[in-house]
């Protein structure tokens, strides 16, 4: 008798599980369909996929290495051998732009991930503990008062010109705004009844924060992550362009523009090619981010996006 009831119960749970899985599948299917009907998301992701393929594979098809100096062929305009022309040291611009793509997008990606993780931790804990909130948010306010490029330049002056330091400098200047966005989403979730119920049941704050608040703030976080990725690419380019970023002779899009500025009267290709790639990368990320925001987070205020 009892075993029969138990069996029925298990069957019931089994059915529920199957239904839940079906529901999830259905949700996923709907998401994919909505994704494909969202123009910005599709165009953005196409641009990003093409750029990633370019960054990964073009160094393989290029006959030159990005650091190979060839003084005889200085400042050649684009031709069959050098598709993007050569720079003022006779280095092949195509392979420099391609390898710069790896550097610039690599820096951007690392900054985005680091900023998301650190910003999430700060944002969550300051939303949850009001004492921490006062201290951390004042520090964030103070950091946000510095124009990001100046803060990054100053940090670079302290740390020295290394690619890893570019990541650190840009991350420090972007964490505060990320933390603020996470905090404001977490504050809303924290006031919900089910969190109160969890607390009443005696759940630990660790469990509440990481198992019940985090999943609910992931959407705005992911959207923000793509924007930070775009801003990081711009900041890296600006830092390198100012001579405070990736150290020469290593290529990054900003470095190539820096070299190109000196010869802007004679070598348009040194500005146009890396410039086009920066615009494409940022445009792709912005479109992708806008698309994701509409998909994941239809109620979010558009103001978040504008905080750069």
């Amino acid at each position: 008798m009892t075993s029969e009831v138990k069996l029925k119960g298990e069957v019931g749970i089994g059915i529920l599980k199957v239904m839940k899985n079906d529901l999830k599948k259905e949700q996923r299917r709907l998401f994919v369909r909505r994704f494909w009907s969202n123009q910005s998301a599709v165009i953005g992701s196409i641009i990003l996929v093409i750029l990633s393929i370019f960054a990964i594979f073009s160094p393989m098809i290029s006959q030159f290495t990005p650091l190979e100096i060839d003084p005889v062929n200085r400042l050649n305009s684009p031709n069959i051998q050098h598709w993007f022309g050569t720079d003022n040291f006779g280095r092949d611009l195509f392979s420099r732009v391609a390898s710069g793509a790896q550097v610039s997008m690599g820096v951007g990606f690392s900054v985005a991930i680091l900023t998301a993780v650190i910003g999430m931790i700060i944002g969550l804990y300051s939303a949850y503990y009001s004492v921490l909130d006062h201290i951390l948010m004042r520090i964030c306010d103070a950091l946000m008062a510095f124009p990001d490029i100046l803060l990054a330049v100053a940090i670079m002056a302290v740390l020295g010109p290394q690619p890893i330091n570019v990541v650190i400098a840009v991350t420090i200047s972007k964490v505060p705004s990320m933390a603020r966005i996470v905090r404001s989403s977490a504050l809303v979730i924290k006031e919900q009844t089910y969190i109160e119920a969890m607390k009443a049941q005696g759940a630990s704050s660790l469990r509440i924060i990481w198992r019940h608040i985090v999943p609910n703030i992931l959407s705005p976080l992911i959207v923000q992550l793509t924007y930070i990725f775009a801003i990081a690419i711009i900041l890296e380019a600006a830092l390198s362009f100012l001579g405070a970023g990736i150290p020469a002779p290593n290529p990054s899009w900003g470095n190539i523009l820096f070299d190109g500025k000196v010869v802007i009267f004679s070598a348009w290709w040194m500005t146009i090619f890396p410039g086009t790639f920066i615009i494409l990368a940022v445009l792709g990320l912005n479109l992708f981010g806008d698309g994701l925001r509409d998909l994941l987070d239809p109620h979010s205020s558009k103001a978040n996006k504008l905080q750069k």
Binding site: F146, V158, L242, A244, I264, T271, G275, L283, K305
Partner: protein
């Protein structure tokens, strides 16, 4: 209202303090002894020691901070070792081009962006709206220094309409001044215009959907009056906030744009100071920029309370 102003004023004090601490310690984190870095490798230990004492680097760090911080209240931001003048003077000497650039860029962006945003909102969903928003998206995706380089390439190098670089102050004649400022201002204003037009569009759309707009229309008020008088006025509040928030971006952009066009502004001052390791200038300038950002946002917040009574009542 008084209580609101007091509260806002008090809330800014800890932030100002933290800003000062951050600026001070960033510089003191620089590895190595600043004095020997300034003098170079050939300096004798005695020379280094003298300079250290002169600059106060031999004191304990908290004493240096107190000394520096007390100086700020007296308007003394230290003095530049390289230029041999007080930091405040160096700052004031370079602030002209930056302010002129920022104001021109901001005016250009407002003149372009608000009408575009309003038109896009009025005709939302049409091709006009889509076209404007695609342009705004492009504007948002071009870093200002890159746009500066592209404009320079096109108008300066190819067409040769405008000088590629240099500066002449307003006192030398308005046109002389403007011909150097047009390209930098456009390149800096474009991204602002993109941000502001998107904001204008979305806040206008929100407001055009409100009931009082429907009432006004039902009363038979002319469409243009509804849009420009009833709606736009209320849409200005979020636009005002964006103007404040993007001030930081404007200065950031100005710093890099200035270096592209060789304008002798704050950007050049800071960048040169970093290259020369002129620490007092780096500290003082960054501090003043951060302070002015905070104060500008404070003013905007107060204006906000003045324009919209709901703000000051809610925040009590």
């Amino acid at each position: 209202m008084k209580a609101y102003i007091m509260k806002r004023l008090l809330s800014i004090i800890p932030v100002l303090l933290i800003v000062a601490v951050i600026v001070f310690f960033i510089i003191h984190l620089i590895p190595g002894d600043p004095a020997s870095v300034i003098l170079g490798e050939e300096a004798t230990p005695e020379e280094v020691q003298t300079l250290r004492e002169e600059l106060g680097f031999n004191l304990p760090i908290y004493e240096q901070f107190v000394h520096w911080f007390a100086g700020i209240f007296q308007g003394n931001f230290g003095s530049s070792i390289y230029m041999n003048m007080p930091v405040l003077d160096a700052f004031l000497g370079h602030v002209g081009p930056t302010l002129s650039l920022a104001l021109l860029a901001q005016s250009i962006s407002i003149i372009i962006a608000i009408p575009l945003g309003v038109i896009a909102a009025k005709r939302r969903g049409t091709y006009v709206d889509q076209l404007f928003m695609i342009i705004a998206m492009l504007g948002l995706s071009i870093p200002s220094f890159l746009l500066a380089l592209l404009l320079m390439l096109f108008f300066g190098v190819n067409l040769q309409w405008l000088p590629v670089a240099g500066y002449s102050p307003v006192s030398s004649g308005l046109w002389n001044h403007l011909q150097f400022m047009i390209l930098p201002a456009i390149s800096l204003g474009a991204i602002q215009a993109a941000v502001i037009s998107r904001m204008t569009r979305s806040s206008m759309i929100d407001i055009l959907n409100m009931n009082y707009i429907k009432t006004a229309k039902a009363k038979g008020v002319k469409n243009s009056v509804v849009v420009y008088k009833h709606a736009l006025r209320n849409a200005f509040i979020p636009i005002l906030t964006i103007l404040g928030e993007t001030f930081g971006a404007l200065i950031t952009g100005a710093v890099v744009t200035e270096t592209v066009f060789n304008l002798p502004g704050i950007g050049q001052l800071v960048i040169n100071a970093i290259v020369r390791r002129d620490y007092a200038v780096i500290q003082g300038t960054i501090l003043m920029i951060a302070f002015s950002y905070l104060i500008l946002n404070l003013i905007i917040d107060l204006l906000y309370g003045l324009v919209d009574p709901r703000v000051r009542l809610n925040r009590k």
